[in-house]
């Protein structure tokens, strides 16, 4: 399976990466080469095998319903690039017409 530029463009959009032209060309070559190696797994016989999403036994983990203090808002917002009135400030999604 070879990865061409259109696949790179599509995946970059899914991954929210604004790649440069050079990066797109380079990734098309590198991802093709990596996938060539990775394709060895198609040789593994897995028709009767269940998938392991993780290694722990499946279980629900419930926390006790006990109120406890949270970190102060100011401390949690201290790393925000932009904030206003105790909230993250983001670019408007919907503008007034």
């Amino acid at each position: 399976m070879s990865i061409d530029r259109s696949v790179v463009d599509h995946v970059a959009r899914l991954a929210r990466l604004a790649l440069t032209e050079d990066e797109r060309d380079r990734l098309a070559t590198q991802l093709s080469s990596i996938l060539e190696h990775i394709n060895v797994i198609s040789e593994a016989e897995t028709s009767a095998i269940e998938a392991s999403a993780n290694v722990l036994p499946s279980m629900d983990v419930m926390a006790a319903d006990v109120a406890r203090p949270s970190e102060p808002t100011a401390a949690l917002l201290a790393n925000a690039p932009a904030q206003e009135d105790g909230f993250f400030r983001v670019r408007a999604v919907l503008e007034d017409e």
């Binding site: 990865i3 696949v7 790179v8 599509h10 995946v11 970059a12 899914l14 991954a15 929210r16 990466l17 604004a18 790649l19 440069t20 990066e23 990734l27 590198q30 991802l31 080469s33 990596i34 190696h37 990775i38 394709n39 060895v40 797994i41 198609s42 040789e43 593994a44 897995t46 095998i49 269940e50 998938a51 392991s52 999403a53 993780n54 290694v55 722990l56 983990v61 926390a63 970190e71 401390a75 949690l76 201290a78 790393n79 925000a80 690039p81 932009a82 993250f88 983001v90 670019r91």
Partner: protein, 495 residues
């Protein structure tokens, strides 16, 4: 007492308890050592010298007041820069988190802090723990103390190099596909990946959540046991944390491994391993036999699919985990006019390897490819787990090389991503299966360290440490210091 940085944690701990030395003296000795060698090694992203001295003074005061203190009280340690430290910037060696200052401590950091440990600073790493050489740091590469032209391994290369160079008595790293054990092997340190869930991941910046695990670096099995004792155990803040009792790891260091069943997985002795590595490991196996272990061959037949399965599962999880870097909540934020500011922020903030893995992961999860890649890899993961389960029915521990090569030259593998990935061929299966492993100094090849890997079943850390300690009572590899940094090169005193 001269050269305090040469002491082991257990030696220093006794000297502190007897008040022969103070934590301030011990901490100053390490800060001086950092001053002396750090320009060549470059293990640290941030050195917190003033905080460290304050913490040391506080411990000395508590000791003077007669308080009973544990074995890590006053011991200077280094922390990989992927673990959150309250008030101290935590960068993951990435531009996107270059100025991020966590509002809380990771649970492992909080536990060490409660035990009285002194924090020297945060260590360099491959960006977001993605890499095997620490060359993927956005800031600078770290140099191997055994040969400054070579890599220390990765991704926890800064922690490994700091411990190997005497800049810290012990350190924490994280291991997703070998990122503790492989740098341990390349720097002659003891480097342990605990069982998945044994150690809390709360406050560990996520790379691949089903694989990540925090583990200690030290210069002896005993010191690693002391560190693991403090960080292991249930944490309600991590839903994947195992609620299982923590054994007394130092009590397990009996020196006696007679009758222990040691398996040698034949797939880990293939053509990929350098002759010098194979020779050292074969000699190490004979040492274990001499100590009374019963050696037998075993097979882990799906090993050949491990790297491929890992390079689907880990990137898939990373592409999801790293979606949080959107330039809104924390970290770098780039304005892009009319263009998508999140995409522009990620373009400016992530390095080549991180972008590569996000792309592989997003591709493997994308519509039309999910079954062929991600689902297939998770089925292979089941097969690899079954391989280990069968082996541990017959054997108590398995023994193998940690890495197929000794430390390679800086720049040697950067142009070929897959060649770099193959350096983790012997460590990746353990992460996929979730069980534990440790790399210990196993010999030398042309003056460069060879790591001996011991692999255990789930929650088998005590047995691994017992074998490691018994091996260290019979060998002196772990007592040797790198000569490239100067200072007297006498062997460390053994405990």
């Amino acid at each position: 007492m001269a050269d305090l940085w040469r002491l082991s944690i257990s030696e220093a701990s006794e000297a502190l308890a007897r008040r022969e030395i103070s934590s301030v003296e011990l901490t100053r000795a390490h800060l001086d050592r950092i001053e002396d060698v750090e320009g060549r090694v470059r293990a640290f992203v941030t050195v917190t010298d003033q905080d460290a001295l304050r913490e040391a003074e506080a411990i000395d005061r508590r000791r003077a007041e007669g308080e009973a203190l544990g074995p890590l009280a006053g011991i200077p340690l280094a922390i990989k820069d992927v673990l959150c430290t309250k008030g101290v910037r935590t960068t993951c060696s990435s531009r996107i988190l270059e100025h991020f200052v966590p509002p809380y401590d990771a649970t492992v950091v909080a536990r060490l802090r409660a035990a009285g440990a002194v924090f020297l600073g945060k260590t360099n790493m491959d960006e977001f723990a993605m890499g095997s050489s620490t060359e993927n740091s956005a800031f600078f590469p770290t140099h191997n103390p055994w040969d400054l032209n070579r890599v220390p391994g990765g991704s926890s290369g800064g922690s490994a190099a700091a411990v190997a160079a005497g800049e810290a008595m012990g350190a924490l790293g994280t291991d997703t596909g070998g990122s503790v054990r492989q740098p341990g092997a390349l720097t002659n340190t003891v480097a342990l990946k605990p069982t998945y869930g044994r150690v809390s991941r709360y406050g560990l910046v996520a790379f691949a959540s089903s694989l990540d695990q925090v583990g200690p670096f030290a210069r002896s099995a005993r010191d690693a046991a002391i560190l693991l004792q403090t960080i292991a155990g249930y944490d309600p803040l991590d839903s994947t944390s195992l609620n299982a009792p923590v054994p007394d790891y130092t009590a397990a260091l009996t020196g006696d491994i007679s009758g222990l069943r040691v398996g040698v997985p034949k797939e880990y002795f293939g053509e990929g391993a350098e002759p010098g590595v194979s020779a050292a490991i074969e000699a190490a196996i004979e040492t274990l036999r001499g100590l009374g272990a019963e050696i037998g061959e075993c097979s882990l037949p799906h090993t050949r699919y491990g790297v491929a399965a890992y390079y689907i599962i880990a990137p898939a999880e990373c592409s999801a985990n790293l979606a949080r870097y959107d330039g809104v909540k924390y970290g770098l934020s780039v304005r892009a006019g009319e263009n998508d500011p999140t995409a522009a922020t990620r373009e400016a903030g992530f390095g080549d390897e991180v972008k590569r893995r996000i792309m592989i992961g997003a591709y493997a999860l994308s519509s039309g490819y999910y079954d062929a890649y991600y689902l297939k890899a998770e089925k292979v993961r089941t097969l690899i787990r079954a391989d280990f389960a069968a082996a541990f029915e017959r054997f108590d521990v398995l023994v193998a090389p940690t890495s197929p090569t000794v430390a390679f030259k800086i720049g040697e593998k950067v142009s070929d991503p897959y060649a770099m990935y193959l350096n983790d061929v012997y460590t990746i299966p353990t992460n996929l299966a979730g069980n534990c492993g440790v790399s210990i100094p196993g010999g030398f090849s042309d003056g460069l360290p060879v790591g001996l890997q011991l692999i255990g079943p789930n929650l088998g850390e005590a047995a691994l440490l017992r074998v490691a300690d018994a091996f260290q009572r019979a060998t002196d590899f772990h007592t040797r210091w790198p000569e490239s940094l100067g200072g007297r090169s006498k062997s460390r005193k053994r405990h």
